[in-house]
Amino acid sequence: MKYNFKNTASVIGTGLTVAILSLCGIFGNKSDFSESERRVLAKLPDVSTETVFSGRFMSDFEDYALDHFPMRDTFRGIKSASVLGIFGQLETNGLYMQDGYLAKAETELSDEMLNHAAERFQYIHDTFLKDTETNVYFSIIPDKHYFLSQESGRLALDYNELVSEMRNKTEYMEYIDIFPLLSIEDYYRTDTHWRQEKITDVAAAIGSAMGINPDAEYATLELDKDFYGVYYGQLALPVEPDTLFYLNNSILDECTVKSYNTGVPVEKSMYDMEKAQGRDPYEMFLCGSDALVTIENPNATTNRELVVFRDSFGSSLIPLLVEEYSKITLVDIRYIQSSAIGSFVEFENQDVLFLYSTLILNNSLGMK
């Protein structure tokens, strides 16, 4: 009797699970975009002789079925929790949680990537900077794994070697070491990036190395929305959101920010409050990932100019350098060809800063 109950319960339990999830998958509401992963979800593929016989329909349908599975983020979270909790693995999909911080484990130093980054920098130097009076600086921003791996003994790439290799390959630049100024508390728990309100000392150190003395007072403002960083979506674990702060003062308020994404200048703001309410609030800092941005400061104490080659970390740091520069130009060579920079920037005697995170240098294929 009990044996029959067990079998019947097994069949009904599994059957109901499959039936409910299948029906929800077929008839449930579909979304075009995954907020947590910040990517467009697959669409139901078209059926045609060509798509079926090429096998494209099948592979596209597999993607569609995965992307629109009911309670997808919950299931992803269950997977992450079981990998890290039940099976005791140190990472899941290369990500982990330690002391409340979500981070990516960068374990292998890629010579190929470092060479690519160095080759792009060399190209920019040789093409635009070599015969000018520009002062060229370089600084590397450590990612969270640098600090967390030191605390826990996790496997990590050799950060000293990364810095050393990049310095050797860019001897034409003056290196500014900011590693000692940073700690894990300077980063968001759920995101890759550092916190603007915690890096005024970094801005001061970089400024000092470039011969300026940024010491403005700022008001610390809090974004009225929870900040779920990029790792939150990738790991899908139920952790508390961050609070995003940003620094402002009258100098920043009076600056004119222009983006040249389409080639035509479009006026923007230092802190884009529309983007702050969007999918990635960190994009509020200096237009997010726009390829070319200028900041003009009518209250500058000097007429010096700065050109920054940067990744997204630079977006939150640059406002803290504005004070003494009359103009700052931000260039992201992941979104603009290096060869095209000359059409927008005339290099004469500016300060030029290459500011890149270890994450981007070690995964630099996107640099054009």
């Binding site: 067990k6 693995q89 140190l90």
Partner: protein
């Protein structure tokens, strides 16, 4: 289509079950055939016609063999069936191997065909061959219903990675099979057990094997970890697939043969091969080894028979020299055991277990590495012969990260969990009656979570 995919679990199989159980008995094989063709076409839309052609040839040859029984035409029909099936297998699977070696030997540069390998061709070719040979031997009557024969060959639970189901084993079930809640529950249990083996163990150990191959910090311990991880991965991958096939078969009313029986507890290679990929071993025994004379011939011919069978076994796994060497490697140990080692191993079981584990791990290094050079580097590394350090920080990191999975895999490769569960079932019947269905659903949901999070998730045995 993979069993361990959302498409199979939540779209294809529910539809199959609905169709299968609403049609009358007489149409069940037709539903099975149509859905199996869809299952195959999902991954191989063009090669489905190749498989249908093979089935038609097998069907016609089977009828001709029976019709002309006792006459030369019967033998000619059998030969025709073998030639057609093996020619297709050779053309699609081995042509480039032969051309490459011919080019190397002669210095010519004949162009390679670069054909995509039709999924499961090794499995369904052997099934069709076993059918026509069995009909020729008079072991089974020829199947007059083409739908039933096609349903046997294409049956999706075992189509692409076995077990190699003999026609003689399922002939009666094709005509008459029973369905019940108990059998369905048994099938579900077995399927989810296989799915769990594949997703929670094989895939995870596969990640570790991949990390080793990409590593720049290899060490002696890391080489052993790789060998152990890959050996366990291939076992849990393949036996997991076989469990799923057996489980699906039970849900559809079939009883397929077991394909694995805890091979890693063996104390000799002879025993290992009685427990590993049983359906392939028995196929070669019945259709190659015994027809060659088996062991009832002179010693020299006996050893020749062993070498031929194991060379073919290796070659069956893949069109490359490492597979042939892998097969011959086992032939060497089998002959050694038949001559001297067997008696020693039966006396000293503990030594036998260690010997089997080491020999099998080395074999899977040869089997799994992309080329011979890497395989020999790894084997040399295992024995500290190429100057690698004993261990590195990376080795310890991954050992720590995969320790739980290793422990689960090592225990799961023995009959211990089954024994413990059987004991618990007897002692705590009421508790297990509730706990088991709950555990099944939880495991299924957890497997779903892994699938939803994962991306491409191929089975290792697909290329064979």
């Amino acid at each position: 289509m993979l069993f361990s995919s959302i498409t199979f679990l939540y779209y294809f199989f529910p539809v199959v079950l609905i169709l299968y159980f609403i049609v009358p008995k007489t149409l069940k094989n037709t539903v099975l055939l149509i859905t199996s063709l869809v299952f195959y076409a999902w991954g191989e839309p063009k090669y489905v016609f190749l498989m249908v052609f093979s089935i038609i040839c097998g069907y016609i040859c089977g009828l001709l063999i029976e019709k002309f029984r006792g006459k030369p035409a019967s033998k000619i029909s059998l030969i025709a069936s073998c030639v057609i099936s093996l020619s297709m297998l050779c053309y699609f699977k081995y042509a480039d191997f032969f051309i490459t070696n011919f080019n190397t030997a002669t210095g010519l540069s004949l162009p390679l065909l670069k054909l995509a390998l039709p999924i499961g061709i090794s499995f369904y070719t052997f099934q069709i061959l076993s059918y026509t040979v069995d009909v020729y031997r008079g072991d089974v009557p020829a199947q007059r219903n083409p739908v039933d024969l096609a349903a046997y060959v294409t049956m999706f639970p075992q189509l692409i990675a076995g077990p190699i189901v003999r026609y003689s084993d399922v002939a009666k079930q094709l005509a008459e099979r029973s369905h019940s809640i108990d059998k369905t529950a048994c099938g579900i249990r077995r399927f989810i057990c296989g799915l769990s083996k594949k997703i929670f163990i094989a895939n995870v150990l596969g990640e570790l094997a991949g990390l080793f191959l990409a590593s720049r910090q290899q060490s002696v311990l890391y080489c052993w970890m790789y060998a152990a991880a890959y050996s366990l991965q291939i076992y849990f991958d393949f036996s997991g697939y076989s469990d799923m096939a057996v489980g699906l078969g039970k849900i559809l009313g079939f009883d397929f043969m077991e394909n694995f029986n805890y091979p890693y507890i063996s104390s000799s290679i002879t025993e290992f091969w009685r427990r590993w990929h049983i359906s392939l071993g028995s196929w070669f025994r019945d259709y190659v080894y015994i027809p060659l004379g088996g062991n009832r011939v002179s010693k020299l011919k006996w050893f020749r028979n062993i070498f031929v069978v194991w060379m073919l076994t290796g070659f069956w796994h893949g069109a490359d020299w490492n597979f042939i060497v892998w097969g011959l490697y086992f032939a060497f140990f089998l002959i050694l055991e038949k001559l001297w080692l067997g008696k020693f191993l039966s006396k000293y079981k503990a030594i036998g277990h260690c010997y089997v584990l080491v020999a099998v791990m080395i074999s899977f290094v040869i089997f799994g590495m992309p080329d011979f050079g890497l395989a020999f580097d790894c084997i040399k590394g295992m024995f500290g012969m190429n100057g690698l350090p004993l261990a590195t920080a990376e080795t310890f990191y991954y050992l720590r990260s995969y320790a739980v999975i290793f422990a689960i895999a090592l225990i799961g490769a023995t009959p211990l969990p089954k024994k413990l569960y059987t004991m618990a079932e007897k002692k705590f019947t009421a508790v297990t009656a509730i706990a088991e269905p709950v555990a099944i659903v939880i495991l299924f949901l957890l497997a779903t979570a892994y699938l939803v999070d994962g991306s491409f998730n191929p089975f290792l045995y697909f290329r064979f």
